[in-house]
Amino acid sequence: MTSGNLDLAPNLTGADDVYEALVDLTDGLDETASLRAQARLILILINHLNDRETVLQAIRVARRPASDRHG
């Protein structure tokens, strides 16, 4: 199992603004283009993080959100 320093505590101020910007990213795009735009965003953020282990940890969390971890 890989380690990582994934911070899952609430860290954002203005969460609604950021959420709105995320929705706007795919505004007017069809499903394929939307998926591509979100993938670009993920890749940009992953590169910015510059922390392989944390990225892999985040992928594990994304695969299985905490709410159904025991499901």
Binding site: E31, L35, Q38, L43
Partner: protein, 524 residues
């Protein structure tokens, strides 16, 4: 020339006569299959003086589209086998690959297959597989202890404790051949594997690729060019690569639901070629074929006295040129080990290290091959979006370019080997045990050339007494690059296996350290 069975023939051989009709015969080594891997295996063991019989079901070398890209590691192996210069003289050298996306004339990604310069051999040489086979056959003709038998087919296999009985048929009769060792190099549809009832599990990829090998006069830098979603093959990929004799390999991804027989008809191939190269391009058909690919391998490559190598043991996608080059890596790994076992220098336990190392290499090739396939043929809408996102970003942002994957070029595999002695000292540079020695200029020649075909101690002023029979190569203070690349401080030494892999290294070693490491490298 087309033979009776419709194969385009590069070289036809006289069917070999049966040696002792309806009789029994004995040999030390029998090699089943005379493709590049079987022939190279015969050359390796033949050069070491062993009696070798090669059984080839076919009696010709086919002039078909097979392997064309031979890696630096393979070229180093060819040098050791004495055919490196001939292949370099005929082949075309390349190191740079360019990847294009859609209609842009600038590549989204450019890579160098051999970023470390000042090595004897280049990243890759392109040459048709039939030339490789030809050079191997010529080299084997010089060895009186190697016999090539064309048109001899293994019909039945009986494993024994101290050998294998092969029942062989040829045009002029049948015979039984008892071999102390059999090396099965008989390809992906291996008769040996089937006769012994052995596994070959893996994964089939649902995609078809059209190969159009054509002859034409065309100017282009000697590079590998690859396209994702080009205007001439929308939504699919394509590849263009030069071979000797003005032959070009064009490779078009077709998708899964196609009529494979129809796809290779000239009237269906030509539109692809003209779309890529222009309506007025003049070319001749060399060979058209459609392939799908699979990643399969045997669980074990060593089964008693039968040992599997090349496509018979493992099959990968062609992306990255890991098929034929992977087979030569098997030859390189197995040759010296079987030599040591036959000569009684090592026990059969040494062959288990071939199983460990060669299956690890196959596994690594499978991982690379599968990853390339997933990039070339995304399996879902989401993975296609991710792939396209990488290509979009790669155009403008350097960070995304290393993710662009059209095949990761074959290089020497690094493995955790039972034959390696772990470092006892702290090393921050150099070549770690389980890796192949990196080449560098050495005196008037090259470091890899100096290693030869036996165990070698690369030393920089090591003062100990080497075990009997161990060659010592002294690296001179003037061999600056070799010293730098090996991290070879004054008094340091590397123990190098006959396949040029590092077995052990020391900054300072006593005689007993070297002796113990040599024992370990022989699985003693």
């Amino acid at each position: 020339m087309i033979n009776a069975r419709g194969f385009k023939v590069f070289r036809q051989f006289e069917p070999s006569p049966v040696p002792f009709p309806d009789g029994r015969e004995h040999t030390t080594v029998a090699i089943v299959g005379a493709g590049p891997v079987g022939l190279a295996m015969a050359l390796d063991l033949g050069r070491r003086g062993h009696p070798v019989v090669v059984l080839s079901r076919l009696d010709f070398v086919a002039q078909a589209s097979k392997a064309i890209c031979f890696s630096k590691r393979t070229l180093d192996i060819f040098d050791r086998l004495g055919i490196g210069d001939a292949i370099m003289a005929k082949g075309l050298t390349w190191e740079v690959g360019k990847i294009f996306w859609r209609d842009a004339s600038d590549p989204v990604y450019r890579y160098d297959t051999r970023p470390l310069k000042d090595q004897k051999r280049p990243g890759f040489v392109n040459i048709q597989q039939y030339y490789i086979e030809e050079f191997l056959v010529e080299a084997l003709a010089e060895l009186p202890n190697v016999e090539l038998r064309w048109g001899h087919k293994v019909e039945a296999v009986t494993p024994m404790n101290d050998g294998v009985d092969l029942h062989v048929t040829a045009a002029s009769g049948t015979y039984d051949l008892r071999a102390e060792w059999v090396i099965a190099c008989d390809g992906s549809r291996s008769t040996m594997r089937r006769e012994l009832g052995l596994d070959f599990d893996g994964r089939v990829f649902q995609d078809n690729f059209l190969i159009a090998d054509i002859r034409m006069k065309h100017e282009m830098p000697m590079e590998r060019w690859f396209w994702f979603d080009p205007p001439f093959n929308p939504g699919q990929s394509a590849l263009m690569h030069k071979q000797p004799d003005d032959v070009w390999r064009l490779d078009f991804q077709l998708g899964w639901n196609v009529d494979r027989d129809a796809a290779i008809l000239p009237e269906n191939v030509e539109p692809y070629v003209r779309a890529m190269l222009g309506d007025d391009v003049e070319f001749e058909r060399e060979w058209y074929s459609v392939y799908t690919f699979q990643c399969r391998r045997m669980d074990r490559f060593v089964h008693g006295r039968t040992i599997f190598a090349g496509d018979a043991a493992h099959l990968v996608s062609p992306f990255g040129a890991r098929g034929c080059n992977g087979g030569f890596a098997d030859v390189d790994n197995l040759g010296w080990k079987l030599d040591c076992v036959i000569r009684g220098v090592a026990g059969e336990a040494l062959l288990e290290s071939y199983n460990v190392e060669a299956t690890a290499a196959a596994e690594e090739n499978h991982i690379h091959s599968t990853r390339s396939s997933d990039f070339l043929t995304p399996k879902s809408t989401a993975s296609r979006a991710l792939r396209d996102a990488v290509l979009e970003l790669a155009r403008d942002h350097e960070f995304a370019r290393p993710m662009v994957n059209s095949g990761r070029p074959s290089t020497a595999i690094v493995f955790d080997s039972p034959l390696s002695t772990p470092d006892a000292e702290e090393w921050t540079d150099g070549v770690r045990p389980g890796s192949v020695v990196v080449d560098a200029p050495l005196g008037d020649g090259w470091l890899l050339e100096s290693i030869g075909e036996e165990f070698t101690l690369l030393s920089r002023g090591w003062r100990g007494k080497a075990p009997v029979g161990l060659r010592v190569v002294e690296v001179d203070d003037r061999d600056r690059l070799a010293i730098e690349r090996l991290g070879l401080e004054e008094g340091a030494a590397y123990l190098v296996r006959p396949d040029q892999y590092v077995a052990a290294r020391w900054k300072s070693a006593c005689d007993a350290d070297v002796e113990a490491a040599l024992h370990r490298a022989l699985a003693a």
